[in-house]
């Protein structure tokens, strides 16, 4: 299994390079000049000085050159400097990341705690009112726009009830609302996938065998069915975690949480290219790692995959 993991990490490198290349090319093609955005002739800066500034940030070189320089820097751990704040991109990210990870994990936890049981119950009580209600609820959850839900949450719980703060990132209480908004949203999809996967597994012959052995319904569902139903669920969880790590931009903005999402938005608004590059790279790395975890989990969930990997190695 170690060998398999290392193998996958090795194949991740070309992926990351590819991400870098595409990002680079897109940003390069992006209209607008960061320097012009930052300073203007009104401040008394001459065009020549602006050109000099651009040179300092390496914006005058042709793209392939810029790319190679950049990759070289990245390998040494240098993600560049922010045009806006003149701080290193690395430090900006390091500042923002804990908030985002906190939010992502909290939201994921809420999502799992609501979504999976809901899906399982809907599957067990297939075709009864419980099933219909949970499908309806999850449909609602999925259709709800994030910003609307966020603002509604702020209105009810912050302004009216005054239970939780409406913005900021200090402490647990500030985490609750944004995590809940994100979590409930993602739990909706999770519930649907869990439900359909469980339904499929519950129809399998080995579940009938388990019942024929006289096992309690709890054992049948939890021990026999659930583990086998989890593979598509885990895949979805991986995707969701990736999305959450990317900063759940809308929620972070509305709740004014300084995380990766806000960093990204500000960088886009200010055309702060180095920050954009660095952030997207970090997010890509996050996705890759999460995917690897998901992949490894398949081996745990399904022994057949484990054997296939062992014999192929």
């Amino acid at each position: 299994m170690i060998r398999y993991a290392l193998n996958r990490l090795a194949t991740a490198i070309p992926t990351l390079l590819g991400v870098l290349l595409v990002t680079f090319a897109l940003l390069y093609a992006m209209p607008g000049d960061p320097i012009a955005h930052l300073v203007s002739a009104a401040n008394g800066i001459t065009p020549r000085e602006m050109q000099e500034l651009r040179g300092r940030f390496g914006l005058n070189d042709p793209m392939p050159v810029q790319f190679v320089h950049y990759v070289g820097h990245v390998v040494h751990g240098d993600l560049g400097t922010s045009i806006l704040s003149n701080r290193s991109v690395g430090s900006l990210i390091v500042e923002a990341l804990p908030n985002t990870i906190e939010l992502a994990l909290a939201a994921l936890a809420i999502s799992i705690m609501i979504g999976i049981p809901l899906g399982v119950i809907a599957a067990i009580r297939h075709r009864t009112w419980v099933d219909h209600v949970s499908i309806g609820a999850s449909l609602l959850g999925v259709s709800m726009p994030e910003f609307w839900a966020a603002m509604l949450a702020i209105l009810i719980f912050s302004v009216n009830l005054q239970w939780f703060p409406a913005f900021g990132a200090d402490g647990l209480s500030a985490l609750v609302l944004p995590a809940a908004v994100l979590g409930i949203r993602t739990s909706a999809t999770l519930a649907r996938v869990t439900r359909s996967s469980m339904l499929e597994v519950l129809g399998r012959q080995y579940v009938t065998t388990a019942r024929a052995k006289g096992l309690s319904e709890w054992a049948v569902v939890m021990l026999h069915a659930l583990k086998n139903a989890l593979i598509p669920v885990v895949t979805l969880l991986g995707l969701q975690l990736g999305y959450l790590l990317a900063g759940a931009v809308v929620v972070e903005t509305i709740f004014a949480r300084p995380g990766i999402g806000s960093l990204l938005i500000n960088a886009v608004l200010n055309k702060d290219v180095p920050v954009l590059r660095g952030t997207i790279l970090v997010v890509a790395v996050g996705y890759v790692l999460v995917n690897l975890l998901v992949d490894l989990s398949y081996g745990w969930l399904d022994p057949r995959i484990r054997s296939a990997r062992r014999s192929a190695a």
């Binding site: 399998r204 012959q205 080995y206 009938t208 065998t209 388990a210 019942r211 024929a212 052995k213 006289g214 096992l215 309690s216 319904e217 054992a219 021990l223 026999h224 583990k227 086998n228 969930l301 399904d302 022994p303 057949r304 054997s307």
Partner: protein, 368 residues
């Protein structure tokens, strides 16, 4: 060699004692172990109407006896046995009539909870395809131990020991290593042995084997048939063997019931039903089975047509549309008649005609 009554699950006994009186229990020993009477099972399907899977089926198995239930797809043979154990409820089946009396208790009246105490302990089940009947993500040891832990309340260590014994019982070599392994690591024949071991874990009085050899190669099938024969002799348990393979049935069954279109069309001792059939369907089935001990024929005798649509079962005899002996009166369902078979055992068949000496079955075919 006298065979003592095998111990059934403690909790089932407790349930049993609650429900029956001492004199009833004494009489039971003479009566059949499982007696299914006039069972009717329907599946409601919103698109197609009602599927009358099983209609007025009566079967019985005595202690220590092996009953073979023969039929093709759609005959209702599996549904009958699964419904007796309440395993078809989840598929949308409704039992609309009849009784299934096992050891004095009507299984159809039991709650799901009470049925669970019967399943896996007093009645063991072996299913058709061991590839899909075993959970791919749990170890063999775990799956074997489950009924033991559930019904006998054994500790993990004791359950493991018993699991090893069970694997030895079904002649699986290298048992200790197998316990930690997974189903996909075993061959089809091995997996089926594991299924049999699982079904026998709590010493059931009755084993239901639903097409246990169908998914297996013929040499492996022979092994499993031999194993089943030995096991039931050793343990003296009753067996209901459901199969479409007449040869497998012939090798194990004491008595045979033939099902067609959801009803039992013939029942009697194996020698009678398979050697001197009285129902045209049984006759046709036997004749279309290619036999190695008969000279080769150019064309196999055939039953023309196809099994009836379960959503539109005709009134009257379900076999009439395909029967070469069909008559006007066959539009009314024939009663179950009884004749004296060999050795004094009764032979039941549901047919108006009297086949007598074997009639020649029509050759040729109509498109299905």
């Amino acid at each position: 060699m006298p065979v003592s009554r095998p111990p059934s699950s403690i909790s089932f006994d407790a349930l049993h004692d609650q429900v029956t009186s001492p004199s009833e229990r004494h009489d039971e020993r003479e009566r059949p172990l499982l007696e299914i009477t006039d069972l009717t099972v329907e599946f409601a399907d919103s698109h197609h109407g009602t599927n009358m899977a099983v209609r007025d089926v009566s079967l019985d198995v005595a202690r220590h006896e092996t009953l073979g239930v023969v039929g093709e797809s759609g005959s209702g043979k599996s549904v009958t046995m699964m419904s007796a154990l309440g395993l078809t409820r989840r598929l949308g089946a409704r039992v609309t009539g009849g009784r299934c009396v096992f050891d004095g208790i009507d299984l159809l009246t039991l709650s799901e909870r009470e049925l669970r105490r019967v399943r896996g302990s007093a009645i063991g089940v072996v299913f058709q395809d061991p590839m899909t009947s075993l959970n791919p993500s749990l170890t063999i040891g775990r799956q074997l131990a489950e009924p033991l832990v559930e019904h006998r309340d054994l500790s993990r260590a004791d359950a493991r020991r018993r699991a090893l014994e069970l694997l030895d019982l079904v002649r699986i070599p290298d048992a200790a290593a197998r316990l930690a392994g997974y189903p996909h690591e075993l061959s089809g024949g091995m997996r089926q042995r594991v299924m049999i071991a699982m079904a026998l874990a709590c010493d059931p009085a009755l084993l239901i084997a639903d097409e246990p050899t169908t998914a297996l190669d013929v040499t492996v099938q022979a092994q499993i048939v031999e194993l089943l024969g030995e096991l039931r002799r050793e343990r003296g348990m009753a067996v209901v063997l459901v199969s479409h393979d007449l040869g497998v049935i012939a090798g194990l069954a004491d008595r045979v019931a033939v099902m067609y279109g959801g009803t039992v069309v013939e029942a009697g001792s194996a020698a009678d039903v398979l050697g001197r059939p009285r129902h045209p369907y049984t006759l046709g089935l036997l004749r279309s089975y290619p036999r190695l001990d008969e000279p080769r024929a150019d064309r196999l005798p055939v039953i023309p047509g196809a099994p009836p649509d379960p959503f539109a079962r005709p009134d009257g005899c379900p076999f009439a549309p395909r029967c070469p002996f069909a008559h006007e009166r066959c539009t009314t369902a024939p009663p179950m008649r009884t004749q004296e078979g060999s050795a004094g055992a009764p032979q039941h068949f549901a047919c108006w005609a009297d086949l007598g000496p074997r009639a020649d079955f029509e050759r040729g075919e109509r498109g299905a």
